[in-house]
């Protein structure tokens, strides 16, 4: 087993626990924005896609990378946008009166 695998596994397990503890505390009120926000964060795969595309090794890998850049970046942009639009709609009764 490569050494990288072990260190990645460490990170994965710790991040999984952190995720579990954080998500548990998110109010069910906000579960839809939660899903669109984690979607936008997950779109960080765009960094891997940029590197594959930008390395420009073969036509095949550049093409695949280019599709991945477009798909993941659209998730990133759209995910943050819709999350913010949804959260703006959640208003407290008190703030409404002010």
């Amino acid at each position: 087993m490569p050494a990288d695998f072990i260190s990645n596994l460490y990170v994965f397990i710790l991040a999984g626990f952190v995720g579990f503890e954080l998500i548990k505390r998110v109010s069910p009120l906000l579960h839809t924005p939660l899903m669109s926000l984690t979607n936008a964060l997950d779109a960080i795969v765009v960094v891997a896609a940029i590197i594959i595309t930008g390395r420009h090794e073969t036509t095949l890998t550049t093409t695949l990378g280019a599709i991945a850049v477009a798909a993941s970046f659209s998730n990133m942009v759209g995910g943050f946008l819709i999350t913010d639009r949804m959260l703006r709609k959640f208003k407290s009764g008190r703030s409404k009166q002010q």
């Binding site: 990645n8 109010s27 939660l34 964060l41 795969v45 765009v46 659209s74 208003k91």
Partner: protein, 462 residues
């Protein structure tokens, strides 16, 4: 700066991005700080993208920039969809996320800078299988939610055996590739088989189960990104994939509990078929109905009102009229709250978004567990477009298909009013004994029109 030193700076920037991502989820714990969470996430993501563009490995910018612009061009309209369309948009974004994770894994297999070891082959194969099946599965889910595809479960004899054989086929090909990574012919076949499995996985699942399915696909999309992080040895991917994956997983568990069903039951149970046995042997039961005038008078005489919205309310676009009703009743000094069942919408939390959009303060949106104890002290429970989540048979009737499912105990309210088009059973085809109770009044009609009439009656009365 030498390349190694630069690489270390880049890695440091990724760590900052990861910290911002974690803070982003932390801020989401309360509606008051939640928008700060989006900001933290945006800064982290922007930092990671900019830093990646500075990576010396990136030598050719043309395609990167073109596709970033295309991505933004697709993403912005998808970020501006109507709130009722959020579930299908989310399913589509799971598809995009899984597609990019799968496709990068595929590209990594074909890069061929170094010969692929067996271990790497195993990682790539697993990652590509999960990514591919999530891609097609999410597309089917989006199609069902957009109502391009039939919502009813599509089933045939021996379906589970066929689906599982296809999955076994994909895994078998993966094993063959691990045994001999040089057998490049098998790789594209494995991808195609995994894509087919995704279609077979979601097609038989009915519309009522979409909140669970969409959460499960969320979890798969996250874990495929985390696995991609293993393949590429990229910690930022491992962390964000693990966060997304665990979030989807927790939501799936919550959705399953809210329907009292197991994962296997959702995936292979084909819920939502018409119940053949329910039709026979039914004596005529008395249903009492009322007019908008009656309903308005009863609401006006109440002190405590709980409104139970279901997806039918959103379909009828009645949420803004419901807000008017809320305003009028509140002005009259009546306490009005909303009871939200976890599966009230088409994805976790969807109903809250729809009501928040209609400007209903979020403190008035109460979760099932919190409000259930209050129904005995509630004067009127007004049900708008919800059915199965209010069915008392879930508590009492062991033969009911929804027996054991946690429900809103509306039948304990002094008066129950149900706005409904007709006596037809709901989405799952299950009869609801609530409608025949002595304290229940049926308000037959379109949700939006009926609420409008009640509002008119209440505002005209004084």
């Amino acid at each position: 700066m030498n390349p190694l030193e630069l690489q270390q700076y880049l890695d440091f920037a990724y760590i900052v991005a990861v910290v911002l991502f974690i803070l982003s989820l932390k801020f989401l714990s309360s509606p008051t700080t939640s928008r700060l969470g989006v900001l933290a996430g945006e800064i982290g993501a922007a930092l990671a993208v900019v830093v990646t563009l500075c990576n010396p490995e990136v030598t050719e910018y043309r395609w990167v920039l073109i596709t970033l612009i295309i991505g933004a061009g697709v993403g912005i309209p998808l970020g501006l969809v109507h709130m009722t369309a959020v579930p299908q948009r989310t399913a589509l974004s799971h598809a995009f996320g899984a597609l990019s994770a799968a496709i990068i894994g595929i590209a990594e297999y074909y890069v061929g800078t170094a010969p692929v070891t067996r271990f790497q082959m195993g990682e790539i194969a697993l990652e590509v299988i999960i990514g591919s099946l999530t891609f097609t599965g999410s597309l089917i889910a989006a199609g069902k939610l957009q109502e391009i595809l039939p919502q009813r479960p599509i089933v045939y004899r021996g379906q589970n055996i066929v689906s599982l054989s296809v999955l076994a086929g994909a895994l078998g090909l993966a094993v063959a590739l691990v045994v001999n990574p040089a057998n490049t012919m098998l790789f594209p076949i494995m991808v195609v088989v995994a894509l087919i499995f995704g279609v077979l996985l979601v097609t038989p699942i009915g519309g009522a189960d979409m909140p669970t399915v969409i959460s499960l696909l969320n979890s798969y999309a996250g874990f495929s990104a985390a696995l991609l992080g293993f393949v590429l040895n990229s910690k930022v991917l491992v962390v964000s994939g693990a966060l997304d994956g665990s979030s989807g997983f927790i939501l799936s568990v919550i959705m399953c509990k809210a329907m009292n069903r197991s994962f296997t039951n959702v995936m292979f149970g084909a819920f939502g078929q018409v119940q053949a046995s329910a039709a026979g042997a039914k004596e005529e039961r008395v249903v009492r109905s009322a007019t908008p005038e009656d309903a308005a008078a009863i609401l006006e005489a109440a002190n405590r009102v709980v409104i139970v919205p279901g997806y039918g309310m959103a379909v009828a676009q009645a949420q803004h009229k419901v807000r008017e009703l809320y305003d009028i009743l509140t002005k009259k000094g009546i306490d009005v709250r909303f009871a939200i069942h976890p599966v009230a919408g088409r994805m976790p939390g969807h109903m809250n978004v729809l009501l928040a959009e209609a400007d209903i303060p979020y403190e008035k949106l109460i979760e099932m567990d919190e409000i259930n104890g209050d129904f005995p002290q509630t004067d009127v429970a007004l049900i708008i477009g919800a059915n199965d989540v209010t069915n008392p048979a879930a508590r009492t009737d062991k033969s009911s298909p929804i027996f054991g499912m946690p429900i809103l105990d509306v039948d304990k309210a002094h008066t129950v009013m149900v706005i409904k088009r007709s006596m037809n059973p709901g989405f799952a085809g299950i009869d609801n004994p609530l409608y025949y109770l002595d304290n229940t009044l049926m308000l037959f009609g379109d949700a939006k029109q009926f609420v409008t009439s009640i509002v008119k009656e209440l505002s005209g009365g004084h």
